[in-house]
Amino acid sequence: MDKNALVSRLNKIIPGGVLETRRFGRSENTSIWIEAQAVQKIAMALKMDTEMKLDWLENLSVVEFEKVFIVTYFLRSLITRHSLVIRASAVPVSPGSEFLFPSVRNIWPMGLPMEEEAEEMFGIVFSLNNETQFQVKVNRLPENWKGFPLRKDYVFPSQFEDITHSRSFNKSNQKKSSL
């Protein structure tokens, strides 16, 4: 598979969408850095690509690196057995706040649970159009949970619903036994 041909094909469809091509870590895989605003268009182009046919979103991961959030899509094709990694980055408007990011759940439906998890853990709201209201759905964390736990600036809670989040070895904060 020729990655350069793929990149030039993508560049033809979405001019300026592809930023650069890199080896993904120490693996043989190629990773393509793309513009965050062009994620949906590029995802559609990759799915419809006659040579690649990347029809399966294997994994979606988010990492915070020096206050920049990097979203990585691991793609695979069940038909042609090709695989590809695409990455895009975004910066929150102010630290600690939620921000919008284009969603791919209409293109690869298996992305929905992964996007929901990233939404809860990092406060990235994956939206299908940029007019969506900020509202993070909660179904993995307990209700009334404050903050996004996998962010670097997250402070552990000192208390959550009358349970103290610390351990002291005197018996005063333990419930009394029935015996």
Partner: protein
């Protein structure tokens, strides 16, 4: 308020019977549940102590908490404990259930640091995970505690 009254000889017999028929409900919240399953199995055979696994909290006397309890699971565990009929006992198995263990409050945001912050615990079994022998030892300690005999105890000042 818990009302109680004292029975002398018949009380001893009742306590003896109670301690020898601890029907339990086990909550597999963590990886210690595997070890409890081992203890239930044919090699270690928890049933020879009179322990019978139950699925209904109303029919059980003992709640075995195996492993870590997350903040999301804590209210459900509390409800399970509240549904049990008195007299009821709790056995905390594993470092996670005792004090948070490897998920202690410095390293984890989501695990309750010790199940005794949610429900009262009678016997703590340390280990990560404890061997089935240790779980059996904890059970015998609980039986001795119910009978009012002295059991091995370790206190931290």
């Amino acid at each position: 308020m818990v009302e109680s009254f004292y029975l002398s000889t018949i009380g001893k017999v009742l306590k003896w019977a109670q301690s020898r028929s601890l029907w339990y409900i086990s909550t597999g919240t963590g990886c210690c549940a595997d070890e409890v399953l081992d203890a239930m199995g044919c090699r270690y055979d928890l049933e020879r102590f009179g322990c019978l696994p139950q699925v209904d909290p109303r029919q059980s006397d003992l709640l075995i908490v195996c492993g870590m309890v997350s903040y999301k699971a804590a209210p459900h565990l509390k409800r399970l404990y509240d549904e049990m009929l008195s007299p009821k006992y709790v056995l905390a198995v594993g470092a996670c259930a005792n004090c948070g263990g490897p998920f202690s409050p410095e390293f984890s945001y989501s695990v309750v640091p010790g199940v005794d912050q949610v429900i009262p615990v009678d016997v703590y079994v340390p280990g990560c995970p404890p061997r089935p022998e240790a779980i059996m030892n904890g059970l015998i300690a609980l039986q001795e505690k119910i009978c009012g005999q002295e059991c091995s105890r370790f206190e931290i000042e």
